[in-house]
């Protein structure tokens, strides 16, 4: 049966607007799929994704895990004889996908253009300043020695007020993220129908696919295979690890300060504090490496950055700089530490909120696809081993044979029947 085609012109224009303006130049030579270090014989990319996008087949692309398997080493862009820049196109498609899974959509828009920057930081700063004003019932007195809070309800910005901002925010972000991931999972599964018998239990899912995928991500195995340069690989790994460290210490501090009464600031010799500061330094160093790398890559024409790419990198850098800056200024007992602290919280707020809306969302969706890829590869292998895959294919070809029979007459009909019989025999064997 032919595929009924009604290209989604909006989607094509969207990809072009999101940095994939070279999309249409592809003439399907497949050089990209050949040079890509991550593309496999079984699931080659990005050639097919290029034409699906050209033809505005948005639904087909959504079901395709390949766009997230790309780590954008840009070898394809370097070797493309037509200047179609598949690396940039896939990045643009990923940006479009993030929008697809994001709700409400206007938040996605805020994260994807310069105008949104003012709105987002305006929002973050006004929420934080409002909290400070409420907590202090007016403009606070700037204490010396500098400290940002003392106790749950006291200080410049008491802990409870920070929680009051960030806990609901975390809840909202988690909700949107889970919604996005489940939407994605559903779409991915539409691409290849897995028979009931081959579906894993939740336990198997976690132990066989999710944990190995996370291990792989921590080690950056795929990223390394991607053949990117040292700066990008190291930078990205540092940033990831820094986030993990900071996630852990934030939770320790949350429990320690909010429930156990160990009020901040904690002394510098505290192991948690040491760990946290290490995380901050790694975060700054990693993000600087990534920024430098991207600058160099863009200068040499290997990549073409979209706004969203730069936004995320600088946001991460500023999260680190303002965090560490606030701490140092506080230790130096300079009152400028207070606005620095507000700036830090605003950056964290914007970063947090951006998890499902900004390029940060690749954390969610690439991870999901890497789990899915392990899962589906395994299922296919199992089905292959038991002959189920062949059976499924045979069913398809039998249908085709039947169709052929209808058309053909006389001898050819007999032949087709024989062929079907043979196939059945093979199946039994």
């Amino acid at each position: 049966m032919p595929t009924y085609v009604e290209p989604d012109l909006k989607f094509v224009k969207g990809v072009i607007a999101s940095g994939g303006d070279t999309l249409k130049r592809c003439y399907q030579c497949a050089t990209c799929a050949v040079v890509c270090p991550l593309s496999t014989d079984e699931v080659p990319f990005p050639r097919k994704q290029m034409i699906l996008a050209q033809w505005g087949m948005a639904d087909r692309i959504a079901k395709d895990p390949a766009i997230w398997l790309c780590h954008q080493c840009s070898d394809c862009t370097a070797y493309c004889p037509r200047g179609a820049r598949p690396g940039d196109v896939l990045a643009a498609i990923r940006a479009m996908a993030i929008r697809e899974y994001a709700e409400p959509k206007f938040l996605w828009s805020l994260y994807n253009n310069l105008g949104g920057l003012i709105v987002l930081f305006g929002l973050a700063i006004s929420v934080i300043v409002a909290a400070i004003l409420i907590a202090n019932k007016g403009i606070p007195e700037l204490e010396s020695p500098v400290r940002f809070s003392h106790g749950l309800f006291h200080g410049f910005l008491p802990v409870a007020f920070v929680d009051a901002i960030f806990l609901p925010l975390a809840g909202f972000v988690a909700l949107i993220s889970i919604r996005g991931i489940s939407m994605m999972w559903r779409q991915l599964n539409e691409g290849f129908h897995v028979p009931e018998a081959y579906r894993p239990t939740t336990g198997e899912m976690v132990s066989n696919y999710i944990i190995p995928a996370i291990k792989e991500i921590l080690a950056h195995e795929r990223f390394k295979k991607c053949g990117v340069n040292f700066n990008r690989f190291t930078g990205h790994r540092f940033v990831l690890w820094a986030f993990i460290i900071l996630f852990i210490v934030t939770n320790i501090v949350f429990i320690g300060a909010d429930f156990l009464g160990y009020h901040t600031p904690w002394p510098l010799w505290n192991p948690v504090k040491i760990f946290a500061n290490l995380g901050a330094i790694i975060l700054i160093y990693g993000s600087i490496l990534l920024i430098q790398n991207r600058k160099a890559r863009e200068a040499e024409g290997a990549m073409k950055g979209a706004y969203a790419d730069w936004f995320l990198l600088y946001l991460i850098l500023f999260v680190g700089l303002t965090g560490l800056g606030a701490e140092i200024l506080r230790l130096l007992n300079l009152k400028i530490a207070y606005p620095m602290y507000i700036a830090h919280l605003a950056c964290v707020f914007v970063l947090f909120l951006g998890l499902p809306f900004s390029k940060f969302a690749h954390l969610l969706y690439r991870t999901t696809v890497m789990v899915y890829d392990r899962y589906i590869t395994d299922v296919r292998a199992k089905m292959e081993a038991t002959g189920a895959l062949a059976a499924e294919k045979a069913e398809e070809s039998e249908e085709a044979a039947e169709e052929a029979q209808e058309v053909a007459e006389g001898e050819s009909q007999e032949e087709a029947a024989e062929a079907t019989e043979e196939k059945e025999e093979k199946k039994e064997a």
Binding site: P2, T3, P7, D21, R25, Y27, Q28, K48, I51, R82
Partner: protein, 737 residues
């Protein structure tokens, strides 16, 4: 010629391998007036010495025995003194080598190598070289200086341009720019042709990415403002009589006929669209009103009415089906070359009219000639243009009235069904010459250009060497009647044809051949007293140069002639000849060679070689130091069509053991400078067989092979095989008679 000077070069191994004194003796024996030898004949001192010798001895011609005549022709140029070149280097010392068994060393002294009883390799090598020297001297003895053809009548310098489209307009302008007069005859009432009816056309210059207003507007203005160009519209050419420089062209305008004198003609009559009514199956043309041709869509775009013919609703999506009825043995077997660009252009115009419109282009191969790849790339960037390689499968109508085009073998790896408002078939070009002579020539061989089947009806020519030449001298084609092409290409083509037309006029004025022997002042002369009116020459002339008088005697038209010599090759009575090249000359050369006594044990073979293909191939083989049999004496001829059977008879009855003819490839991708030469020679092999039968000789003794210019590596093998054939048959019984 009477006082012939022979100059033998001793460099380039000639002096090492040959006995120069013996060669000088042979030249003197043959009757030269002066003979000298020296090293580096092509050097300053050598050339100076020849010049001095000419002066001192009052020589009227020279024979240079050195390298091949294909090299150093500019060095050995002595003005009015005719020069014959004897090819001792490529023909002897660089291409004849003793046979060496594997592992054995070649003996230093070639006179120690025995090739037959009592005959050394050196003896045979010298015999060959001496034969060449003798042939050179004899050829010069039989040479008469040619005189230019100067008709009494005044020639016309006007160029007739048939057709007033882009090509015709450009051709006329180019003629005028070069300072000559042009006459345009256009059958329609308006100039401009097809392009003038377009909304927009592809830009005809860099960067080849955009569209522009039709160029015809500007061209028409220029033509109308140019007083060297006469425009006759609404007129058709009824009759063309005469010959280049002296054409009488009769045209009909309204009801009246008029005749004008014309020098040369540029045919720019263009093309017409393929009859789409033949495309009902499978393309649905005629069955669905919303299936239109690219011509019809062009008209819709020009009018600005993008409405479906069926119900007048707006066209929001169009499927372009490329190669509809093209590259298809049932319709047009060729590619029209412009339809991919036309569809891309139409897609662009559609998209410019409506940003939400979608254009699908299903192509077999996207062919955007030349730098128009840029235009293709520009269109690829349009989000609303969807391109894929595909094979058309079917067309049907959906319930909503839309047409559904099904295609297979797409780049998406699956069959597609695309619902669209309009289907545009990219139908192809048919040249005006396909079913009409276009040039109503009053020639003995009939009107029109002969044998256009080779080019699917296009008035094309030998594309390898001569893009503008037709098989009718003085008549040049350009634009889409010549080959399918874009406007930009047609303009370039028009300029080329216009300059060729002028070049032809200059050649007629000077009295030499137009092409390809542009320097050649000689022309065929007829001894009508002995003519038997057999008409072979008038029929075989590839260029229709010869008409008949009422009695059937050939009437030459020297300005139509290209000096190939096919006529003299054809003439059984040997009544045709050039001053500088004739039957007696070559027969005498054959006879000048020394024929050994019977039972000599070695052979003598004469080879007639085409000077355009076989000769360069042989020279190249010599540069690779390949070896030819010692028995073969090569005689270059201007065309294998100019080989008269009399020469074969002379050779065979004179004791030669075999004759080999090496001509160029003929047939579909022929390479003959004179179109038919080697093909005719091949046909005349029947007469050769008859001659051999009369002499009671084996038919294998005379063979013809075709050799392309690049087949130098195959020639030695070919010659060796012929030598072995002769060894199988044995010596000619005519030796010693």
């Amino acid at each position: 010629m009477e006082k012939i000077g022979v100059f033998i070069c001793t460099s380039c191994n000639i002096g090492d391998r040959l006995e120069i004194a013996d060669l000088e003796a042979a030249a003197n024996e043959q009757g030269c007036a002066h003979c000298a030898s020296m090293p580096f004949l092509c050097g300053k001192e050598g050339v100076e010495a020849i010049k001095n010798a000419i002066k001192e001895n009052e020589l009227d011609s020279v024979v240079i025995c050195a390298c091949s005549g294909r090299v150093n022709y500019d060095v050995f140029d002595f003005g009015n003194i005719p020069v014959e070149r004897v090819n001792l280097r490529e023909g002897v010392v660089w291409s004849r080598w003793p046979k060496v068994e594997e592992g054995q060393e070649v003996p230093e002294d070639e006179s120690q190598i025995e090739v037959a009883e009592g005959v050394s390799f050196k003896d045979e090598l010298m015999a060959l070289a001496k034969d060449y020297v003798r042939m050179g001297v004899v050829k010069m003895q039989k040479y008469a200086p040619p005189e230019p053809y100067k008709p009494e009548e005044e020639m016309s310098w006007k160029v007739l341009v048939m057709g007033g489209g882009v090509t015709g307009l450009t051709a006329a302008l180019e003629v005028a720019k070069a300072g000559y007069e042009a006459v345009i005859i256009e059958k329609e009432n308006e100039l401009g042709g097809f392009v003038a009816k377009m909304k927009k056309q592809l830009e005809v210059g860099h960067p080849y990415r955009n569209l522009q207003e039709p160029i015809t507007k500007k061209l028409i203005e220029e033509v109308q403002a140019n007083d060297k160009i006469q425009v006759i519209t609404g007129a058709t050419v009824e009759k063309i009589a005469g010959a280049p420089g002296f054409f009488d062209v009769t045209y009909k305008q309204g009801g009246s006929e008029e005749t004008i004198r014309i020098g040369t003609i540029v045919v720019a009559t263009g093309w017409k669209p393929y009859d789409a009514s033949k495309l009902e199956e499978p393309y649905g043309y005629g069955k669905y009103p919303d299936v239109v041709t690219n011509i019809q869509f062009e008209e819709m775009l020009a009018k600005g009415e993008l409405k479906r013919p069926s119900d007048g609703s707006p066209v929001k999506s169009v499927a372009f089906i490329q190669c509809a009825g093209q590259r298809d043995p049932d319709h047009l077997p060729y590619c029209s070359g412009v339809c991919c660009l036309a569809s891309l252009k139409q897609a662009k115009l559609l998209r410019e009219a409506d940003d939400e419109a979608k254009a699908y282009i299903f192509y077999k191969d996207m062919r955007t000639m030349g730098i128009y790849e840029n235009f293709y790339q520009a269109l690829q960037d349009d989000p609303g243009v969807f391109l894929t390689k595909a094979e058309f499968k079917s067309i049907s109508q959906g319930d909503d009235g839309k047409l559904v085009v099904e295609v297979t073998q797409t780049l998406l790896g699956e069959d597609l069904a695309v619902p669209v408002d309009l289907v545009v078939l990219a139908t192809g070009m048919v040249p005006t010459t396909a079913d009409d002579p276009v040039v109503p020539l009053e020639y003995r061989q009939g009107p029109g250009f002969p044998e256009l089947e080779l080019f699917y009806g296009y008035a094309d020519s030998n594309y390898i060497c001569f893009p503008y030449e037709t098989r009718r001298t003085g008549i040049y084609t350009a634009g889409c009647v010549h080959q399918p092409m874009t406007t930009a290409q047609a303009m370039e083509d028009a300029a080329g044809a216009a300059l060729k037309a002028i070049q032809c006029l200059k050649a007629i004025e000077a009295g030499h051949a137009v092409h390809p022997r542009t320097w050649d002042y000689a022309y065929p002369e007829f001894n009508f007293k002995r003519c038997t009116q057999c008409k072979r020459c008038t029929e075989e002339c590839p260029f229709g140069a010869l008409d008949d008088d009422p009695k059937g005697t050939p009437m030459p038209n020297p300005t139509r002639c290209r000096r190939c010599g096919t006529c003299f090759g054809a003439c059984p009575e040997r009544v045709i000849g050039f001053k500088d090249y004739n039957i007696d000359m070559v027969s005498s050369m054959i006879k000048a060679c020394e024929m050994p006594e019977p039972d000599y044990g070695l052979f003598r073979v004469v080879a007639f070689i085409c000077e355009n293909d076989a000769w360069p191939a042989l020279d190249m083989a010599a540069y690779h130091r390949n070896s030819f049999p010692l028995s073969i004496r090569f005689i270059p001829v201007r065309c294998l069509g100019a080989v008269n059977v009399a020469w074969v008879r002379d050779a065979m009855s004179g004791g030669w053991d075999g004759v080999i003819m090496l001509g160029c490839k003929y047939g579909e991708n022929y390479q003959c400078h004179f179109v038919k030469g080697s093909e005719l020679a091949n046909r005349r092999m029947e007469n050769v067989a008859e001659t051999l039968q009369q002499l009671a000789l084996e038919s294998e003794r005379v063979v013809l092979h075709t050799v392309a210019i690049d087949e130098y590596d195959k020639v030695p093998q070919l010659l060796q095989e012929f030598q072995e054939t002769l060894e199988g048959i044995g010596e000619s019984p005519f030796k010693g008679w």
